[in-house]
Each structure stands twice: as structure tokens, then as C-alpha cells.
Assembly symmetry: C2
Homo-oligomer: 199 residues x 2
């Protein structure tokens, strides 16, 4: 009995440490927080996980995560469905939507081509993107990460789309707004100088 119940605490720590960005020490801290703070906290979290998991749907068009299929963006008549922004993950959509600068639709790849992590082109939703472009996209914006894997993914897919005669673009590299030259890495500075705008 004693042993069995200790295990529920260890199991909670193990489950928490499986979350992205959470190490063993943080998992332990979180588990003790959940177990020693008022009951409502832990149960609210457990319920929120169950509810969200039960109601979240992956859009069959763009693979966005939302409440409905198709997602509100794909279903909206106000969006420009000929302008497709390609992102790695569904959470990238939130980031772009918050900028309020994009009125097109999205296409979630589900990652980037990463030989080191064993992720190849076949693991991504590239065929669906090609099908969407064939169905009438005018421009594809590659908003994959500004990392080697993200760059390679954009280059690889743009090669596949080239014969389809669609306009393609890549989000700009440059200095983050509000940043200081002193604290910016050289590659970013180099990109910012190379891509300088005429005033």
C-alpha cells in the first residue's frame, strides 16, 4: 500500500517530465506544487487537459489545431485562400495571427526536414501542400524556422513547387524590433545588412 501510493507521485513526476522543456527538477517542483496547493488547482488542470484533448480538432485542410474542422481560418470567407503561409507547427499560427499582418491561410507541415532527428520529407504534409497549390494558390510564403533545418525545408519544398508556376517567398531575416546591435548574433546582423531596405 505504502509503496503503491509513493508510485503515484513518482508517476506524476515522470509524466510531467515528458513535457517539452521540463526537466526532472522542474517536474518535481511542479508535482509538489500541484499536490500541496489547494485541491482545485490540480483538478482544474487535469480537467482542462481532458476537455481540450476531447474537443481539439486538427483541420483537414491546413492541420491547424482548433475546435472545428475545417478550422476558423480555413472556413473564413474574409481570408485570401490563394495566399498560403507554410509553417512548421500549429502553434506558429498563433504567433503570426497575433501580428495581425497576414490575411491569407496557413499550411502546417508538422515539423521540418531534419536528418539528425530522422525526420524526412515523407513525414511532413508536403503532398497536401502541392495539392492545395494545384487547386489554385497564387503565392506560397515559407515561414519555417530561420534555422538550417527550416531553411532546408523551405528550399526543398520550393524546388517541388517550382514547376507549378506559383509565386514563392520567404519571411525576411533581420534585426528583431527593439533589439540592440550589441546583443545580436553576427549572422542576424549580416542578414539585416544584406536585406537592408532603401529609405
Amino acid at each position: 500500500m505504502a509503496q503503491k501510493q509513493t508510485d503515484t507521485i513518482s508517476r506524476l513526476i515522470t509524466e510531467i517530465s515528458k513535457l517539452p522543456g521540463i526537466g526532472r527538477k522542474s517536474a518535481q517542483r511542479i508535482a509538489y506544487h500541484l499536490l500541496t496547493h489547494p485541491a482545485s488547482n490540480a483538478e482544474n488542470l487535469a480537467q482542462a487537459i481532458i476537455d481540450a484533448k476531447g474537443s481539439a480538432k486538427i483541420c483537414s485542410i491546413c492541420a491547424n489545431l482548433s475546435h472545428s474542422d475545417p478550422c476558423p481560418i480555413c472556413a473564413s470567407e474574409k481570408r485570401d485562400h490563394t495566399l498560403v503561409c507554410v509553417v512548421q507547427d500549429a502553434k506558429d499560427i498563433i504567433t503570426i495571427e497575433r501580428s495581425h499582418c497576414f490575411q491569407g491561410v496557413y499550411h502546417v507541415l508538422g515539423g521540418s526536414i531534419s536528418p539528425l532527428q530522422g525526420i524526412g520529407a515523407r513525414d511532413l504534409r508536403i503532398d497536401k501542400l502541392i495539392a492545395r497549390v494545384r487547386q489554385g494558390a497564387k503565392e506560397v510564403i515559407f515561414a519555417t524556422a530561420l534555422t538550417p533545418d527550416g531553411e532546408n525545408t523551405a528550399v526543398y519544398i520550393s524546388g517541388l513547387l517550382a514547376p507549378l508556376n506559383v509565386k514563392m517567398s520567404r519571411i525576411a531575416t533581420g534585426m528583431p524590433v527593439g533589439s540592440d546591435l550589441e546583443y545580436t548574433d553576427e549572422e542576424t546582423v549580416a542578414g539585416a545588412i544584406t536585406s537592408r531596405r532603401q529609405l
Copy 2:
């Protein structure tokens, strides 16, 4: 309907961001991880929270968190019940137990005296500690944090225990094992030099 279900995702993000050390961005990343990875992950976590919350008990003697009351340490005949180690939180017990260097019992205060956070002596389990010492402790080791709050708490409680004629000690300050002078803060170095051991 659409709005309602988006809200389950937002609510999950909100609940996750209430956890210690998790900001809004990390909470978003964790929520998307839970919702886009195989179903078992999220449900295992929810179930682990419910199970642990349901079976975890706070020891009525030392306030340790475990499966039983009294906890296995307080219930053990192998431990020295006259040697009491005072810690701030139940999770500190795990850390000390892992060092395998302590065979006494613990007393969890439930925090440290912190005027800035509005935590006073009355909020801590100090009366219970005094009662335990009266019942026959021979030595009290203060293992509260090596921070101003942790130090003040140890000094305050040692003042209360002084009339009870019990031996009192404080864990040693010094250089962490494996650390380098170059990367150690001055106060730690000062403590290490002051508390130097004769060879």
C-alpha cells in the same frame, strides 16, 4: 460551438501557465504538445494528476508528502527520531534523502519567513516543531535555504528553541562539489574560506 471549443485550448494554456516556472510561451508549447501528440500522453498526465492528488497524504508529524500518514520516514524504526532536520518544503526532503547522509527525521516548515511575500512566523509549522522538540529531540539541524529569508527563519526559530536546551546546527555553506572558484559568487567563496576545515 466554435468559440466554446477554442476556449478549452485557452483554458488549458491558462491552467498550465499557473504552474511554477512556466510562462505563457512555455504553457502554449506544452498545450500544443499535449494536444498534437498521441492521445495517451495527455490522458496519462491527467490521470497521473488525479491519482497522485487522490492518494498523496501530508504527514501529520513532519508534513512530508507521501502515500501514508505518518510518512514512511516518521514511521520507520531505523531512523533516529531525536535528530530533526528542519526544511522549508517537502521536496527538500527528496534532495536530502538522495544524499544518503542523514538518518534522522524531518520537519517541514511550509516556507520561510518572508516579509516581502507576506509570510510570517505564524504561517509556518513552528509550534509543531517546538512541540516535537519538547517531546524529546536531541538535535535540530536547520536546512532552510541559504538565502536571507532562509537564514532569518533559522535564526528566528533557533531563538524560540534556545530555552529548550536542544543542540542546534545549521547546514554548512561552502563551495559546491565540482565547482570552480572562477564561477562562484563572492559570498559563497567568503563562506567557504571562513568555514575552512583543518586538514
